[in-house]
Amino acid sequence: MGMDVFQPLLQGFAAALTPQNLCFGFIGCVLGTLVGVLPGIGPTSAIAMLLPLTLILDPTPAIIMLSGIYYGAMYGGSTTAILVNIPGEISSAPTALDGYAMAKKGRAGPALAISAISSFVAGTLSLVGLTFFAPTLAQLALHFGPPEYFALMLLALSVVINLSGKSLIKGLISAVAGFFVAMVGMDPITGIARFTFGSVELMSGIDFVSVIIGLFAIAEVLSTWEAQVTPVIRTKLTGLMPTREDLRETFPAMLRSTVIGFFLGLLPGCSPGVTAFIAYDTEKRFSRVPETFGQGQIAGVAAAEGANNATTSGGFVPLLSFGIPSGPALAVLLGGFMMYGLQPGPTLFEKNAPFVWALIASMYIGNVMLIILNLPLVGLWARLVKVPYPLLAPIILISSFIGAYSVRNKMMDVWLAIAFGLIGWLMRKLEIPSVPLILTTILAGMLETSIKQTLSMGDMGIYLLFTRPISLTICILALLLTISSLYGRYKKIPLPGDAEEFSSESFEFPDVIEKKRPVLVKPRRYLHVPKTVYLVREHDRSRNVAKCGSLRMRQAGEQVQR
């Protein structure tokens, strides 16, 4: 590897830039964006539906198009997550946390634009990794056996603590419920049915798509309907494009999420959903203002969207190098390879070099197409929030039902989505966060499989984890992260109603600043407080409660002037 990559890559670009390949690449990117936007209908079903086209098309344009759908979907997934709190793909669930909060404040435009930009940056940078190091990195990923996967899942689980919101107990309740949901169906290894109550349909388990559609889309509609308010629409749009400061602030997040997304993406089974959550959590840890996460922190949006795009490029490494698909969408794509008799694996780079390099080059081009396609759409999408909710709600519901049905062509999935909608609505009333549930539902399968395999790998039992350097390192890291998160929770500035209690509304500081004098308090938890960030405490005498939070003075100042 190294310099000898350039020539085949240039030839790849030459091939990818032919009108036919360019055209199919574009179709793929457009379709990908579309299926990404629609909740439920994901890249897996889209690629599967278009697979028969491979019977007519030549291999290169066909695979270029199908791949375009895959990474294009990651661009589209954030749109509905930001605008209406409904992630188009599970990998955009963490995007909704801050993206929707931003939209509520009228900053839907910057949120959408940042997710497109972050997707582009991470997508392109990770392609560089794919281009230059694919075979080497694939070797690296092989060091991960069942114990390492199990350790990695433990690490991902530690994220739950940070996603729990106000109450750790409620977060844990949600997390445990997620495991229970994942338990329904067949044991991934023994095939024994669990909690299926004799139903054949339940034997195939509960699909993630039904869960997120229910918890996000349907629950959102129910809560809004119940509250009789139209939360999004009232806000004015304040600028469509991110400010220079937004960009400066999110750039490190983009780089970090690229690294996380790409390297975890090398591991088969680490889906964009998992890496997006991990990147989001990492960003929160790196942040000087972690309490603003979940309240409309633009870095959170950038991290989640960057990671899921980097993961898609990462996933091509084991696919091309070993023919190992990292997730369902890539498994279907692998089927496309097979239909052409293209055997992915080390020999693919030798035998079908022109094809491989045209595909890789097409992904660079595709990322450019996607950003050109998505940035102008920001204005259009952002205006979508002005659609009256009574009109928007039925559209959301119908597309949710179609989405749930389309996954496996079963009505049961629609009923399940409705059931999860009710559960989600109830959870909101009880202030139980739904994000831990979603995270554990994603993690449960691999957690269970990897622990069973670890236990069957010898007579050492679980201690095997601590005898292997990689798994031991990850375990220690997981432990440290858990401790630091717990420490963070309990060592916060001890005021009744901590920062997380700030709803986005109470963040409208102009009011606060004018009516109640803010008091600058000495930062206690964060050692490095940048010049523009202050911790602010306000005291509401009428209710005799104190709240604390942080705000950027410059931004607040701007608003005060208006």
Binding site: A48, L142, A331, M338, G345, R408
Partner: protein, 303 residues
């Protein structure tokens, strides 16, 4: 259903149920069949319907319970349907299907990593004896073809293994590539990608396979052991025998079409046609053997 004596069949599109995801091996194979289907079946299209889940059981159940008018056919995998019908949570019986044809026979092999010190089947047996039940052998799932093969192999070779079950061939291959397991049972179709990284010790088929001419059969090495995964097509029981006959004839023609065989070679699936009758005979025989194994190891009692 009254109108038919098989004549004119099919006069409308035929639905094909695939019990696995689109793009999976079953689907890829069926897509090749589809290319030739119209040629032999009155130019009627074949409409694919995917019913994945529960290791194929969801889709197989759907096939077994379909209206037996010949307009729903399904792709079946053996021994999956047989083992699932033997499980305590069976949702169909072996005799709920009438088989049209077998199209693929994908034999199993014992495979180790190229870097392993195990070079032959004898080394493998010696190593297993030395490790005394601790040798890790990767299989796909439990209560599956691989599981049965491993149990049979223990009996035949007189050794004990430590079975490590995986969810699918992909993660099983990764584990062997990374050296996390000592050996594995793999199917020909799945391991052909890794001929440079894996060492195949023996193939569990009657004859050597022309893709791997240097790999000996168990038979040659003195062990009577064959094991494989087969794909076929079936209709629900009670389908009009005339229609079944018509389907069987059509599939026989498809499966002997030289172009079809060429494409099967291209997609890397070992084509092996068997008539519906012969396929049924094979299934019955496997069913009896599996039942004995299950009883012997009390696999059903654990549930």
């Amino acid at each position: 259903m009254n109108k038919s004596n098989g004549e004119g069949y099919p006069n409308k599109p035929v639905q094909l149920i695939i019990a696995f995801t689109a793009g999976g091996s079953s689907d890829v194979q069926a897509r090749i069949v589809e290319k030739y289907w119209k040629k032999y079946f009155n130019d009627q299209p074949l409409a694919f319907e995917y019913k994945p889940g529960a290791g194929g059981q969801v889709g197989f159940t759907e096939i077994a319970r379909a209206v037996p008018d010949g307009y729903t056919i399904g792709g079946v995998n053996v021994p999956h349907i047989l083992l699932q019908s033997l499980s305590p949570q069976a949702t169909f019986r072996k005799d709920d299907f009438v088989h049209i044809a077998q199209v693929v026979n994908d034999p199993q092999l014992i495979v180790v990593n190229q870097n392993s010190s195990i070079r032959t089947l004898n080394d493998f047996i010696a190593e297993a004896k030395k490790k005394d039940g601790q040798m890790t052998v990767g299989i796909v799932g439990t209560f599956t073809a691989h599981h049965m093969a491993l149990l049979k192999l223990q009996d035949i070779l007189g050794v004990k293994f430590n079975a490590v079950p995986f969810q699918g061939s992909a993660d099983q291959n990764v584990a062997l590539l990374g050296g996390h397991i000592d050996a594995m049972i793999g199917n020909l179709n799945d391991i052909m990608r890794y001929t440079e990284q894996f060492r195949m010790l023996a193939i569990a088929s009657e004859n050597r396979h022309h893709w791997l001419p240097d790999v000996p059969t168990f038979q040659e090495l003195g062990y009577s052991f064959t094991s494989d995964i087969r794909r076929g097509f079936s209709v629900p029981a009670n389908t009009d025998p005339a229609i079944v006959q018509r389907l069987r004839e059509g599939f026989q023609q498809i499966c002997n079409d030289p172009e079809y065989l060429n494409e099967m070679e291209k997609i890397g699936q070992p084509a092996a046609y068997l008539s519906g009758e012969d396929f049924t005979k094979y299934c019955d025989q496997y069913y009896e053997e599996a039942k004995q194994l299950i009883d012997k190891y009390e696999l059903n009692k654990k549930n």
